[in-house]
């Protein structure tokens, strides 16, 4: 399969993220993935898998004091974001790449009206010299887009419900019509009926504004609903990735992916006991040797304990596991 380089909106190559501390925390350990225009990729994994660190690395928002990117490339439209200056990055952030943060309750400024918070990013990225009126109209338009009455723009965040606050956060992220939207658990704090509204809205926006989305989540149900591609993360590595059909219906899977699916109670079938994955996520400052999943894996072999598994790729569906490696 030949893919032309120009088609990729974002390409992440061999990215590492570490945090210094008493011991060095290895949060992301050499991941590779890419995103085309208008595509939605789901980044799935449990707490501590390195999902948010990946997102912050793309946004260049890692804490300067502790976080660093020792290796890797983040190519956005063919240019490496890691070699941009802070000033250049500030132009890109919010305008071309923007992020929806996890918790709408804490990511809005409580002493600023929601209208002004949306306006803020328009003013900062006002390169084309729009007038005040044009920008105010755009705020109204954005609020309407996310389903909030524009006459509520002079209200403060505490006057909104959780779902509405999340929609304000989405409106801020979309203010400058970004080409890439990173949504970090955008619906985790919301109720299911509101979650359904927000997901429907994101899907609609993707179709109307041609936005590419990186959706960070731990909910396989949400992934099934809106993603085109999925990458499953474990201990800072992508253990399996592919098209959504590969992950949900494909024949071969990484044992961790299988574990994740089996741990969810089935809404249709009958089962008395759930099948949890035994053990715990490894400490990222003290990762196991060989395959990072081997202490919890039911198919663990001798070589899993010592050598890092190869990535086996079949038509874009890649699995990082010794099980599928054919010896020759």
């Amino acid at each position: 399969m030949v893919i032309k380089m120009e088609e990729k909106l974002l390409e992440i190559k061999n990215l590492y993220v570490t945090y210094k501390g008493e011991k060095t925390v290895r949060a992301v350990n050499g991941i590779n993935f890419s995103l085309d225009k208008k595509e939605t990729v789901g980044l799935v994994g449990e707490t501590g898998a390195g999902k948010t660190s990946t997102a912050l690395a793309i946004m260049r928002l890692l804490s300067e004091r502790t976080g660093s990117i020792p290796e890797g490339e983040i190519n956005y439209k063919g240019e490496n974001l890691l070699s941009k200056t802070k000033k250049q990055m500030r132009k890109i952030r919010g305008a071309q790449i923007s992020m929806i943060f996890q918790d709408p309750m804490t990511s809005l400024n409580p002493v600023m009206t929601v209208g002004n918070q949306i306006l803020e990013s328009l003013v900062i990225h006002n390169d084309s010299g729009k007038s005040q009126k044009e920008m105010n109209d755009r705020v109204d338009e954005l609020l309407a887009l996310v389903g909030i009455q524009p006459n509520r723009k002079n209200d403060y965040p505490h006057e909104f419900s959780g779902g509405m606050k999340q929609r304000v956060v989405i409106a801020i992220a979309l203010a400058c019509a970004p080409e890439l939207l990173i949504a970090d658990e955008p619906t985790t704090a919301l109720d299911v009926t509101i979650q359904a509204q927000v997901l429907a809205m994101m899907e609609d926006l993707k179709n109307r504004m041609d936005t590419s989305i990186i959706l960070i989540t731990h909910d396989m149900g949400v992934v099934a609903e809106i993603c085109d591609k999925v990458a499953i993360m474990y201990a800072g590595e992508i253990v399996e990735q592919g098209k959504i059909e590969d992950i949900f219906e494909g024949k071969n899977h990484h044992p961790y992916t299988i574990g994740l699916f089996e741990a969810i109670p089935d809404l249709e079938g009958e089962q008395r006991r759930l099948n949890p994955i035994d053990g715990l996520m490894p400490d990222p400052s003290d990762l196991p040797s060989g395959c990072k999943f081997h202490p919890r894996c039911t198919h663990c072999m001798e070589k899993c304990k010592t050598s890092s598994p190869p990535i086996i790729n079949q038509n874009g569906h890649s699995i990082m596991c010794h099980l599928y490696h054919e010896e020759d």
């Binding site: 419900s161 779902g163 299911v192 997901l199 099934a224 574990g259 969810i264 109670p265």
Partner: protein, 317 residues
């Protein structure tokens, strides 16, 4: 039919707030048979946690009655309430904030035993703590460590051990797995179900996660703005939801399966204000089937077939 272990009759809990009365629990009637699990589902702000707390009388009910083991336990006080609490316990949602950070695992689990003067000497108490730790699957080496040194799953196991310490008959599980990752969540759910079987426990399982509630419950009560709008055996509820709100709620669950076409019903708007609500069906303003009669008077739960109860004008008993 056997007497239910727990029964509430028209239970209400209203809170006074600056702009009026907040109807957190507004006339709830539920019954749980011994050894069963009643799942209580609903969205945030529907009063499900307040219901759990009111049943345990962690807050005094505004009106209505609570019967436990055939006895009216509403408004007990002092010593009687302390004795009742030995039989009714709670597991909290957030194992991060519900455990005292300055106490070790031993002190945390021993606390209910000390408070109720269960053992005369320390060695018996120590033995009992070890036994409880074994029951909930905590290795002995954790006995002297503090909550911040444990992960969420283990912390929740400490919370469960505390609830089991006094050998209760009845436990309110208030979102016990919502703060945990899926793989750990499954471990805790299995533990709770095993304990129920061994000790013949009765649970109220409060959650907003519908796939978990279907898995663990015998019967499910759906709450909306302080009222129970539908109650049915769990399979019946999922196979045949009747109330328009339940239908929308069930169809909104994102399934981890690929389907050609999704036919989810998206409900309009947001949950309305629980402060001084208008009479009539609380869901009326968002309901597609709303009629004049829905807005006049409160609608009581009606009994239909298959143990199904629903509070909706669309159905006649």
């Amino acid at each position: 039919m056997e007497l239910p272990l727990l029964k509430t009759v028209d239970l209400k809990k209203h809170f006074k707030v600056s702009s009026g009365m907040l109807h957190a629990v507004d006339g709830v009637n539920i019954e749980i048979q011994k050894g069963n699990t009643l799942g209580v589902v609903g969205e945030s702000g529907c009063g499900k946690s307040t219901l759990g707390r009111t049943i345990l009388q962690l807050t005094k009910p505004t009106s209505g009655k609570i019967f436990f083991d055939g006895r009216d336990v509403t408004n007990l006080s002092g010593k009687e309430l302390l004795n009742l609490r030995k039989e009714m316990q709670i597991i909290f949602q957030d194992p991060f904030s519900s455990l005292d950070p300055r106490r070790s695992v031993y002190e945390l689990i021993a606390e209910p035993l000390i408070r109720n003067h269960i053992f005369r000497n320390k060695s018996e108490r120590y033995e009992r703590v070890l036994e409880l730790m074994k029951t909930v699957g905590l290795a002995e080496r954790f006995i002297n460590i503090y909550p911040h040194e444990m992960d969420g799953g283990r912390r929740q196991r400490v919370g469960i051990a505390r609830a089991l310490a006094l050998k209760p008959k009845f436990i309110v599980c208030d979102e016990p797995v919502s703060a945990l990752d899926v793989s750990i969540q499954a471990q805790i759910i299995n533990l709770l179900m095993d304990l129920q079987e061994e000790m013949k426990l009765t649970y109220i399982f409060i959650t907003h996660d519908l796939s978990i509630v279907r898995h663990i419950s015998d019967e499910i009560a759906v709450m909306y703005l302080g009222q129970c709008v539908e109650r049915a055996p769990s399979k019946e509820l999922f196979a045949n939801p009747l109330h328009p709100y339940t239908k929308a709620l069930l169809s909104a669950i994102p399934l981890p399966k690929l389907r050609k076409k999704k036919d989810s019903l998206i409900i309009r708007g947001e949950v309305s204000d629980p402060i001084n609500p208008n009479p009539g069906c609380r869901f009326a303003s968002r309901c597609d089937y709303c009629k004049e009669e829905c807005k006049k008077t409160d609608i009581a739960l009606k009994r239909l077939e298959n143990g199904h109860y629903v509070a909706c004008c669309l159905y006649k008993s």
